[in-house]
Each structure stands twice: as structure tokens, then as C-alpha cells.
Amino acid sequence: MKLLTANRLTDGLTLWYSGSGWVEDAAEATKLSDDDADALLIEWKLRETEVVAPYLIPLTDTGNPVQREHVREFVRANGPTIGQTTDAVAKEHGRTAIFEE
């Protein structure tokens, strides 16, 4: 299983592929079969007018990103973990927790 993620061209914000298109909230991301994910990645790499730098995040059986990617993807999905940009900003921009730390 994999997630497809990218950044929106116009404002650079992190996006997640859900069955119906791109969403800002990682919790709504679709867990894709490996084959679907690979095909979608190729498709979106060619269609760079909407999103930039798409890539796949491999998931473990429990649906978490594999270990190597864990911290990075946690931060990417939830926003910075710090000071004046912490929870408030994450909530304001719809970045509710998806990966349990």
C-alpha cells in the first residue's frame, strides 16, 4: 500500500491524493494498491500544471509510513512541530494528525 503526495503548484502546500482528487488533509488520503499508485505517479509526473514533485510513500501493514520515512512524513502531514507555528497553524490549515507518533 502507498500514499501519493505532492505540492500544489500555485502555493506549494502539501497535498494528498484521494480517490476524487487532491486534498490538503492527509487523513483523507487514499491508501492505494502498489500498481494503482505507480500508475498514478507516472500520470501526475506528466501533468505538472497542477502539482509539483509528486512521490509515493510506502505504508506498512498497519497503514503507517515505513520506518525510514516516518518522522519526515509525520512532520510533512502535520505541519511544523514547533513554537509559534505549532498546533494552531496546523489546525487552521486542516492538518489534523494522521500518523500517530
Binding site: L46, R47, E48, T49
Partner: protein, 173 residues
Amino acid sequence: MSTPKANSTYDAQLVTNAGDVIPNGWRLLADDETHGVDGPVVLGFDRALRELDGLNGHYGVRINPGDDVRLLEPFLDKLTVIEVAFPGFRDGRGYSTARILREDLGYTRVLRAVGDVLRDQLFYMLRCGFDEFLVKDKDPAEAVTSAAKRFSTTYQGAADSARPAWALRHAGV
């Protein structure tokens, strides 16, 4: 929206610094190829160093990044075309090669940029003394003429005739 075609995918055309598209009369010779009466040829760098001493006439030479251009000094009067290869956008050694040829060795004939030559490098190449470009672009002639006009201010002396800001600021002083 259609997916744009990258400039790097167009066939290269030869353009002068005046923006004229011209035919390329020169051919790069493979190192094991003999040169006869087939017309003007460009020799590989090492071969040129080995053979130019015993040759008469006018030749071209291809300089790759890593070749020491100063080794050509004794043969410059036999060279009509020097091609400087840019195998990738990010490899900037050819800029130094060009300036050494123009400003240090005093080479005055054709200096040509070949390889991965794209629109966004042309301004720098013009300033370093190139006068012909084998450039890949949808509109190669426009790419060269617009590069020449890209910046009205330059801050350093280089191989072109542009006068740096410091010279213009104190002109007439």
C-alpha cells in the same frame, strides 16, 4: 492544458551572436577517422595536440571540460573554429575555457558553444566570448537576441564589450 515540450528536446541549430541561424560547415571527426578532402573538420582535443604541429591549413578543435585549453597556445594560428562542449547545464568549466581563450591567449576566430546549450545560459556565454551557439530551443534565434539584451547592467569586465557599472559610473572622470 497541453504538456509543454522542454526546450532541451528540440534539435540543435547553429546561431551566431547576431541572431542569424547559419549552416554548420564543420564536422567533428572521430578519433580513428582520417581527414581528407571532405571539408572542414573538427579534431578531438588530444588528437589536435598530437597532430596539429605537422598539419598545414585550418582546423577546428573540440574542447571538453577538463581539457587544459592553454595547451593549444602553440597552434592557435591553425585554428579557425574552437568548439567548447557543455555536456550538461550545470558544468560551468567551458565559461573559464572561453575567457582564457579570448582574454589570455588572444584567440579571435570562431568560438562556438556546443552540447547542452540552452536559452538560459546564453547571456553568460556571450559575456565569456562565445560568438556561435549550437542551441536547442523552440526559437533559437530569438533565444540569442533576447539573451544579449537580458541585462542592462553588468558588474564585471569579461570577454565581451559590455562596460561594467564601475566604468560607466566614472566615465569621463
